[in-house]
């Protein structure tokens, strides 16, 4: 079922949690709401759920498919909601937790006890917790509790599944596993899902589209790939990954900053360039395009790459570069070594323009 928000805003007293915004989510889509804390992403999710009311002063509306749910109470919206800290009923067994939605139905639409039993057992099978049916939430691990919470939310076959930082409280490995599992479940059952996260990796990995938010505004809505390659503005660029900053004065096509210089095709004046760690190349000698001398302060192998930290007296804060293991070995990178950096490409965000200027340097 598609979700359509029109002109939705929210203020708490004097603080603006959400500025008026529109958002369309297609049927069967898996959308991540990504942003730092206080960006309004959870408020937006809770408004979709009906746990929070949008400002009445605006004529905003929320549609699920063709159904206008703006004034529909949360209990009648037919959503599944997964809470950050699971919010399982602590005095009920796993079975009763999952069965709650079914047993709370009014008598005339409630399935028979036998049918409830079958359905709950099928759900528990789906989340691989059949053997835990009689346990209490406190006797389960975080990952298991979150799976119970998912099964509970899916028991009423909702058209829309909303998840508030579903994996936030879990450790990295369980998180990975649950992410993959949720993606699989989503593809299999075909509901529309919206989840909130502050973890850009999670958003990029899991979502069909990501909604990047800050200060109650939507900064960009795009597919993960587009988002990463063509960030709409500086906030999105900085939020989606590590950033190295180079500030200096440009004169006659050359940017200088202390004893560093870089050939650029920019008008004269003060400029700021941004680079991702993987966009930096490390060289033993300066190139014709640039002279950016740095000193290695640390090198740590992280998975498939080596993360190198660099300092220089022309840099106000250290830079990060990621290099392949092959390059790492070839250059014999070690602490205290002096090298030269050459950016493969850089990004520039003007104050007025929203789109970044991206320059690839061929060498």
């Amino acid at each position: 079922m598609s979700i359509r928000l029109t002109n939705i805003a929210k203020t708490f007293g004097r603080t603006t949690a959400l500025e008026p915004l529109d958002l369309n989510i297609a049927d069967g889509e898996l959308v991540g709401l990504l942003g730092p804390s206080g960006s309004g992403k959870t408020t937006l999710l809770r408004i979709i759920a009906g746990l929070e009311q949008p400002d009445r002063s605006r004529t905003g509306s929320i549609h699920f498919g063709e159904r206008d749910v703006t004034n529909v109470h949360v209990r009648d919206r037919r959503i599944g909601f997964v809470f950050q800290h699971y919010a399982l009923f602590r005095h009920m067994s796993v079975f009763d937790n999952v069965a709650f939605g079914l047993t709370a139905l009014p008598r005339r639409s409630r399935p028979s006890t036998g049918e409830i039993r079958t359905r709950v057992n099928r759900l528990l099978e789906m989340v691989r917790l059949e053997e835990f049916a009689n346990r209490y939430p406190a006797q389960l691990s975080g990952g298991q509790q979150q799976r119970v919470s998912l099964a509970r939310a899916l028991a009423l076959k909702p058209d829309v599944l909303l998840l508030d930082e579903p994996f936030g409280a879990l450790d990295a490995k369980v998180r990975q596993e649950l992410r993959r599992w949720l993606r699989h479940l989503h593809d299999e059952l075909g509901f529309t899902s919206v989840f909130v996260t502050h973890d850009q990796e999670e958003a990029l990995e899991l979502s069909d589209r990501v909604v990047v938010m800050s200060n109650g505004r939507i900064e960009q809505i795009d597919e993960p790939d587009t988002l990463y390659r063509h960030p709409a503005n500086r906030f999105v660029f900085e939020f989606l990954g590590d950033v190295n900053r180079l500030e200096g004065n440009v004169q006659d096509g050359e940017l200088t900053c202390g004893d560093a210089r870089l050939s650029v095709d920019l008008p004269d004046g003060h400029q700021e360039l941004l680079m991702r760690p993987h966009e930096l190349k490390l060289l033993e000698a300066q190139s014709p395009h640039s002279r950016l001398p740095v000193t290695v302060t640390s090198a740590s192998p992280i998975g498939a790459e080596v993360r190198v930290e660099l300092i220089a007296d022309w840099l106000p804060e250290p830079w990060q570069a990621t290099v392949r293991h092959a390059d790492f070995e070839r250059l014999h990178i070690k602490r205290g070594q002096r090298l030269f950096v050459e950016p493969r490409r850089w990004h520039r965000f003007g104050n007025a323009e929203t789109h970044d200027q991206e320059v690839e340097i061929l060498s």
């Binding site: 759920a49 746990l51 949360v74 209990r75 009648d76 037919r78 959503i79 599944g80 909601f81 809470f83 800290h85 919010a87 399982l88 009923f89 602590r90 005095h91 709650f100 939605g101 709370a104 139905l105 209490y136 406190a138 006797q139 919470s149 509970r152 939310a153 028991a155 009423l156």
Partner: protein, 275 residues
């Protein structure tokens, strides 16, 4: 390694002191009550107990308690729910107001009620026009008892409900549960032990309340005399044994209450360990 207070001599001294003080101030008076009640034998005790006025006092005390508990149960749950689940202007003020009956001396509470509801009071004179008399009658006693005991349930529930938060209730509402279902199946099971604890405290206080009740009751024997008032009345009549018989009865109720409270606490800790 020795921790503070671990020296054998200190420890023995402290334990000895605690035991001695408890015996002197707590246990001895309790024994004295029962000893006094039985000084002239079981027959006299029984006679005193089955005295018409004593029975009336017991009846009135039970009636007052039986009316107070449900009122404060509902009121306490309602108040705790309101204060912990909703944001509204004046919420903090309300939380402070709950404590007024604790802060005010019961005698003062009785006097306020007398001034308000007495036959020359603001509300009382109006009620008088309809021939309704609250003061110096059992409804007045019930009113002040409700006033004095009303914070117990709310005070037990508010910290617990604040700590538990409303997440489980939110989860229940997203699952389509109605307000009553949520209360019955989610809220109530989570607060039931605290609620019962609050009721026990309310019960203890309602049975034993003296100050406020003595102001509004008028102490009419057989009519508006509660058990604590009856103790005083008998004592002033130089019927020491009778007074102590009634007192023994009160002490017995108190002991039962304590046992119930200890039982609940024991259950609660056992549940914690099980989790």
């Amino acid at each position: 390694m020795q921790r503070i207070g671990d020296a054998p001599r200190t420890r023995r001294l402290l334990i000895g002191l605690a035991v001695a003080l408890s015996a002197l101030f707590l246990l001895l008076p309790l024994i004295a009550i029962f000893a006094q009640a039985f000084t002239e034998g079981i027959d006299v005790f029984w006679n005193n107990l089955s005295d018409e006025y004593t029975l009336a006092a017991i009846g009135l005390t039970l009636l007052v308690t039986a009316l107070t508990i449900p009122v404060n149960l509902v009121f306490g749950v309602f108040l705790a729910w309101l204060v912990t689940r909703f944001e509204f202007p004046g919420r903090r003020l309300l939380q402070t107001l709950i404590d007024i009956p604790f802060a005010v001396s019961p005698v003062v509470a009785g006097l306020i009620y007398l001034l308000l509801y007495g036959s020359s009071g603001w509300v009382g004179s109006w009620l008088d026009g309809y021939d309704i008399q609250l003061m110096f009658a059992w409804p007045g006693i019930v009113l002040v008892t409700i006033f004095v005991t009303c914070p117990f349930v709310a005070r037990e529930l508010i910290p617990l409900m604040q700590a538990q938060g409303s997440r489980e209730e939110e989860a229940a509402v997203t699952l389509g549960a109605s307000g009553w279902t949520i209360f019955r199946r989610v809220t109530l099971p989570n607060i039931k032990w605290a609620l019962l604890y609050g009721v026990i405290l309310t019960n203890a206080r309602a049975v034993g309340e003296f100050g406020a009740v003595s102001v509004v009751s008028g102490s009419i024997r057989g009519e508006t005399n509660t058990l604590p008032l009856h103790v005083e009345l008998l004592y002033q009549d130089y019927n020491t044994v009778g007074a102590f018989t009634a007192a023994a009865l009160l002490a017995l109720i108190a002991l039962f209450t304590l046992a119930a409270k200890a039982g609940l606490e024991w259950r609660a800790t056992r549940r914690e360990q099980f989790r």
